[in-house]
């Protein structure tokens, strides 16, 4: 069984991740997969500032992510892996990251996105890559917090 919780959340490290999900899997490390954040030292610092001292944090680019995730998996380190978007998650999983289940917990509003749930807003790209993830065989679990019910967003989108 995997001890990695993989999640799509554009807020990356924030309270829902460290507190809400922290009760389910006490992570030793959080791996943030983001080309945009890793470009800037300042943004990396902002991103990791929210981490409690007992959790290690690391930010990797998309092309470094497969190796980093599979190492956490083989070392059996309880970890969270955070992606900013379905597209990023799809690229990394397609390229061989050992992730069979993906929590979709935060895709917040921005221009040209439509609301599906109060924490899920999508555009055509998002819909395409969520479907592509499911087609890859990844189990998608749509919920912001562990105590909430899984909502089948893809079925809602196809209506």
């Amino acid at each position: 069984m995997s001890i990695i919780l993989a999640r799509i959340d554009d807020r990356l490290i924030h309270g829902q991740v460290t507190e809400g999900w922290g009760k389910v899997i006490a992570p030793k490390s959080i791996l943030v997969v983001s080309d945009t954040v890793s470009l800037s030292d300042w943004e990396c610092e902002l991103c990791l500032a929210a981490l409690p001292s007992y959790i290690g944090g690391k930010i990797v680019k998309l092309d470094e992510a497969v190796e980093a995730i599979n190492k956490l998996d083989s070392d059996q380190v309880p970890s969270y892996v955070l992606f900013e978007s379905p597209k990023d998650a799809f690229e990394v999983i397609k390229n061989g990251a050992h992730i069979s289940e993906l929590n979709v917990g935060g895709m917040h509003s921005s221009k040209d996105k439509r609301e599906v749930l109060d924490y899920i807003y999508v555009d055509d790209d998002d819909t395409f890559y969520l479907q592509a993830l499911r087609d890859l065989g990844v189990k998608l679990d749509f919920r912001d917090l562990p105590g909430h019910n899984d909502v089948d967003v893809l079925t809602l989108l196809n209506k």
């Binding site: 554009d10 807020r11 990356l12 924030h14 309270g15 943004e43 902002l46 991103c47 500032a49 929210a50 981490l51 917040h108 509003s109 921005s110 221009k111 609301e115 109060d118 924490y119 807003y121």
Partner: protein, 123 residues
């Protein structure tokens, strides 16, 4: 006048401003932004646009939690002539309303920190 903007989770900013009004009467140049449903980038854009309306005397950005997405958005907004204070509470905001007319913007953040902490006690 120095503008105050509360940036916080869900309805906390709205509730704090309601409480301020109930204690001090109507208060101007203080408003709130909720993070509800917003990406960090979009929240940063809203902070920027609200700050531009009245930024000549400076802007104090009051954030509910250090390190959270509201804090990150406040940093990313890079508002000119602004300061960020985290861990807001009602006494801190009351102090802001009283002192912002007499104390320059650059000296206010340290005073907010002291006044906010002074209000936290235990017996």
């Amino acid at each position: 006048m120095i503008q105050g903007i509360i940036i916080g989770h869900v309805d906390i900013g709205n509730a704090l401003i309601d409480a301020l009004h109930s204690i001090s009467g109507m208060v101007e140049f203080i408003e709130y932004i909720s993070n509800k449903g917003l990406s960090t980038n979009e929240l940063a854009e809203i902070i920027k646009s609200k700050s531009q309306k009245n930024s000549s005397d400076g802007v104090m950005l009051f954030v509910d939690m250090y390190g959270g997405s509201c804090w990150r958005a406040a940093k990313m907004a890079r508002v000119p002539n602004s300061h960020i204070v985290t861990g807001i509470n009602l006494p801190m905001l009351l102090s802001f309303i009283q002192k912002r007319n007499t104390i320059p913007i650059d000296e206010l953040p340290a005073i907010m920190e002291i006044d906010g902490k002074r209000a936290i006690t235990s017996e």
